[in-house]
């Protein structure tokens, strides 16, 4: 056994470490398990709504006038949209680069450390309960085709799923739509119902975003909506009353 390849560990420990690497590559950049443009949309919508509400509360405490308040928030909404969109694209490309590097690394290992890869396969499939002749046959078949072996190693060793990610630009478009939608809704309601509207629309956006995430993740929608609104309420309230206590 090459200790260079396994870094002094056995094949099973090596596989577990690789799996962790793979999972870190897979982990969603927005903090939720649901990847893609829909997640980016829901997340950008919630964050933009929340930030605009917080800014509205702070600006009110600083005695900014009604029209000035509207202009200030509109001016703040524009960079917020650009920031959310750009950041989403940036994180998407960063993840894609990481995934490509992992594939390249695994391909190199398959080409240059075939014996160790074989050991890894034996450990992997032994761990799944295969043994004896059947195990040997499985390993032989997989080792015979490098492309298939690479796919198996990515999926089984690193826990990566192929063809599961959206292009960073598509993901960023989701974020662009989400933050723009939140900003337009917020500014429109601020114009129509300046006293209570911002609260209603923000909690509505949070509830909508929470419901979308819960729906796609197959989680309980009521829990997601209530927790999203409760956390936003607590955060905004904390910011508002702290500032009020100070000024």
């Amino acid at each position: 056994m090459s200790t260079d390849h396994f870094k002094g560990k056995d094949a099973l420990t090596h596989i577990l470490e690789k799996k962790k690497e793979g999972l870190s590559g897979f982990s969603e950049v927005h903090g939720a398990e649901m990847p893609g443009h829909i997640c980016a949309f829901a997340d950008a919508m919630r964050e933009s709504g929340f930030l605009l509400l917080l800014l509205w509360l702070i600006l009110q405490l600083l005695h900014i006038q009604d029209f000035q308040l509207f202009i200030a928030l509109a001016a703040l909404a524009a960079p917020l949209i650009v920031w959310k969109t750009g950041r989403s694209a940036c994180l998407g490309w960063s993840r894609l680069e990481r995934l490509h590097r992992l594939i390249e690394q695994e391909k190199y290992e398959i080409e240059h450390h075939r014996d160790q890869e074989r050991e890894e396969l034996v450990a992997l499939y032994s761990n799944k309960g295969f043994e004896g002749e059947l195990l040997d046959q499985i390993v032989d078949v997989l080792m015979a085709d490098s492309d298939r072996l690479l796919k198996v190693m990515l999926e089984e060793e690193m826990g990566l799923t192929l063809e599961a990610f959206e292009h960073p630009l598509k993901q960023a478009t989701g974020a662009l739509i989400g933050s723009t939608f939140a900003a337009i809704c917020f500014l429109a309601i601020l114009f129509l119902l300046p006293t209570i509207g911002p609260f209603l629309i923000t909690f509505g956006l949070l509830a909508f975003g929470g419901a979308i995430s819960a729906h796609f993740e197959k989680n309980r929608i009521i829990d997601s909506v209530v927790w999203n609104v409760a956390i936003a309420g607590l955060s905004c309230g904390l910011g508002y009353f702290l500032l009020k206590a100070i000024v």
Partner: protein, 659 residues
């Protein structure tokens, strides 16, 4: 033999089994690191305590902004779950106390009574957290039982090697290998090997049985001293231990719902109050000269009624009364799993007792050594017998060693000391043979056939179901007989239960008829049932429960289904099996059965104070809400009346803390 075992797989599967049997409790989630799992323990209680802390802080602070921050945190920690539960109930078209309390609490924030609303939520969350703990304890019961049943077994392969399989994958006809000291994982018939097995988990009687080829063995029993190869006769889902688990689960489902005032009353009360407040808010301005909005308006008064009618005192009156009693009982070494057990105790007219470990101490005591008419040197016999039995994990061996120690007799050094699995022990002492074990193994060792007198005596002992063993030294035979010891003072306790409270007392045991009769006579019981397996005990308890509510007092795993099925199950905490403790509602931590009289007295007193508190709470609610509705008193006074009644019932309940 070769063992094929993959540690990583084994570890994960055990975690999954435990996780799923706990209804996916996050405190044992396989996705969390083991060190971080404890963060999820008692979350509702922790959240309630944090909410209570911020609420207290809001009363102390004077800056309105800081008070508002504290109230926000209090609402967040105590109210979020309540809000989710209320929305769930509403979606299920269910109007209940959850909705009334949550609605009142959040509406009170809107009309500027945030502290009262937060208080309502904290009290409600506290009550919920206590309920949650009781429910989790009940779930733990089945987990403990499942932990007893092995999840894996070594299956004998065609090439005579061994492979570790999940018991769920083992089919009838497969042969499994059971090591000495292991718990038998599946029911079956011994194919090869000889050993003693302890059926204490199944029958409650701590008396091992010898098994060899052809003997039937049951899952859940312990293989004591020799390896066995067993041909499996039932699948894991149909095994003896699985049936016990199913019985406990089913018995818990069948358990009569304990009397809880809030459960029966809350739904109608909540519907009535919400409907009334809603109608009042809409209709009052049409009938009376009143506005919809403003401090004198119908909406404001409707909200005031909702707050005044929130059963804050009711919610706290009952839990605090029971908590006080639970605390008082804990000081006496009696653990109550939930206060409503005390209610249920009052309704019981029958007390059923297990024999071994409950009415008796559960340990064997050597009662007699019969030398069949020969004179013998007691010191030598005890020194040799205890030397033979030293180190054996067998109740009979332990009783002999204990008897020798009591007599201050030291064991003698032996040679060629060895155990014959399933039969007994043998050794040499100064070139003389000595052995101890069962009749079938000892009698053929005699150089001449045993006298008729000896055979008659052995037949008699066996017929009476007395625990015994034979000791052979050279060619002289000694019969050791044992008995279980009756607990000290048990007769007086039973007489008190019978005479003072007029209870009917019954004994249920898996022991022989003769042994059961002897113990029943000693403790003064006239009604008893013997030769009962766990299923039989459960049947008897079910039959008795059809006539009256009853209490079951027991200690063994075999008692677990009956303890769960009884109206109230009481177990022994010191010597009792974990599954019995989990299945019961009351645990006597010091195994003092004589505390049953005190417990009954406490139950009577608790019932009395709970009734007082309910009356007081209802009176306060009725008065405050009627006055608020009519506009006779302002909202702040309604709130003071409301909270005042809460404090009074809490203080009244605290009286139960006294012994």
């Amino acid at each position: 033999m070769n063992f094929h075992l993959f540690p990583a797989i084994r570890g994960n599967v055990e975690i999954f089994d435990e996780f799923f049997s706990s209804n996916m409790d996050e405190t044992i989630s396989p996705f969390l690191t083991p060190s971080s799992r404890r963060w999820g323990k008692h979350l509702p209680l922790k959240a309630t305590l944090i909410a209570a802390f911020f609420l207290i802080l809001s009363f102390i602070l004077s800056n309105p902004s800081l008070v508002a921050i504290c109230l926000l945190f209090s609402y967040f920690f105590a109210g979020t779950h309540a809000l989710i539960a209320a929305i769930d109930d509403l979606l299920n078209l269910e109007i209940n106390i959850d909705i009334l309390m949550t609605l009142s609490a959040f509406l009170s924030f809107l009309i500027g009574s945030g502290k009262e609303g937060a208080l309502l939520l904290v009290l409600f969350a506290l009550s919920g957290a206590i309920d949650e703990r009781v429910r989790k304890k009940a779930n733990h019961n089945l987990r403990a039982l499942k932990a007893l049943a092995p999840t894996k077994a070594y299956v004998l392969q065609k090439d005579q090697s061994l492979a570790l399989y999940s018991v769920r994958a083992i089919k009838p006809g497969d042969q499994i290998y059971i090591r000495a000291g292991d718990i038998i994982p599946l029911d079956g018939e011994v194919v090869s090997g000889a050993s003693s097995i302890n059926l204490v988990h199944l029958t409650g009687e701590n008396q091992p049985q010898s098994v060899d080829a052809g003997s039937e063995v049951f899952s859940g029993s312990t293989n004591i001293d020799g390896p066995l190869v067993v041909k499996v006769s039932h699948t894991s889902s149909d095994s003896t231990i699985a049936r016990i688990i199913q019985m406990v689960a089913a018995a818990r489902e069948m358990k009569p719902r304990m009397a809880r005032f809030i459960d029966t009353f809350s739904s109608r009360y909540a519907k009535g109050v919400i409907l009334f407040a809603f109608l009042f808010a809409l209709a009052a301005p049409l009938v009376f000269q009143m506005d919809y909005l403003g401090p004198e308006g119908s909406f404001y008064r409707a909200i005031a009624v909702l707050i005044a009618a929130s059963p804050c005192a009711l919610v706290i009156a009952i839990p605090i009364s029971y908590l006080s009693s639970i605390g008082a009982c804990a000081k006496q070494g009696i653990l109550l799993k939930g206060g409503s057990v005390l209610d249920a105790l009052l309704k019981c007219r029958i007390f059923a007792f297990d024999k071994t470990g409950t009415l008796t101490e559960g340990n064997l005591r050597l009662t007699q050594v019969d030398a069949f008419g020969q004179t013998y040197d007691e010191t030598q016999i005890f020194a040799l017998a205890s030397a033979l039995e030293r180190g054996a994990h067998h109740p009979i061996a332990e009783a002999i060693c204990r008897a020798a120690t009591d007599k201050k007799i030291a064991p003698l050094p032996l040679e060629e000391h060895k155990m014959v699995a399933g039969y007994g022990m043998q050794a040499q002492f100064e070139d003389k043979r000595l052995s101890i074990g069962n009749r079938a193994w000892i009698l053929p060792k005699l150089t001449r056939p045993p006298a008729n007198e000896i055979l008659q005596k052995l037949d008699e002992v066996e017929k009476n179901g007395e625990v015994h063993t034979l000791f052979l030294f050279e060619d002289r035979l000694y019969l050791f007989t044992f008995e279980d010891i009756v607990r000290e003072g048990i007769q007086k306790t039973l007489t008190t239960l019978k005479d003072r409270y007029g209870l009917e007392l019954v004994m249920l045991t898996g022991d022989h008829e003769a042994s059961a009769q002897r113990i029943a006579q000693q403790v003064g019981l006239t009604r008893y049932f013997s030769n009962l397996r766990p299923a039989d005990k459960l049947d008897h308890i079910t039959e008795l429960a059809k006539k009256e509510n009853l209490v079951m007092v027991g200690d063994g795993i075999n008692d677990a289904p009956a303890l769960a099925r009884a109206t109230v199950g009481i177990s022994m905490g010191k010597e009792g099996a974990q599954s019995a403790i989990d299945a019961s509602d009351v645990v006597l931590l010091q195994d003092r059965v004589d505390q049953l009289g005190w417990l009954l007295e406490k139950a009577h007193r608790t019932g009395h104070i709970v009734r007082q508190n309910i009356g007081l709470s209802l009176l306060a609610i009725t008065f405050a809400s009627t006055a608020a509705l009519a506009g006779f008193i302002p909202l702040w006074l309604a709130v003071i009346l409301h909270e005042g009644s809460t404090v009074i019932v809490a203080l009244n309940a605290l009286r139960l803390l006294k012994r």
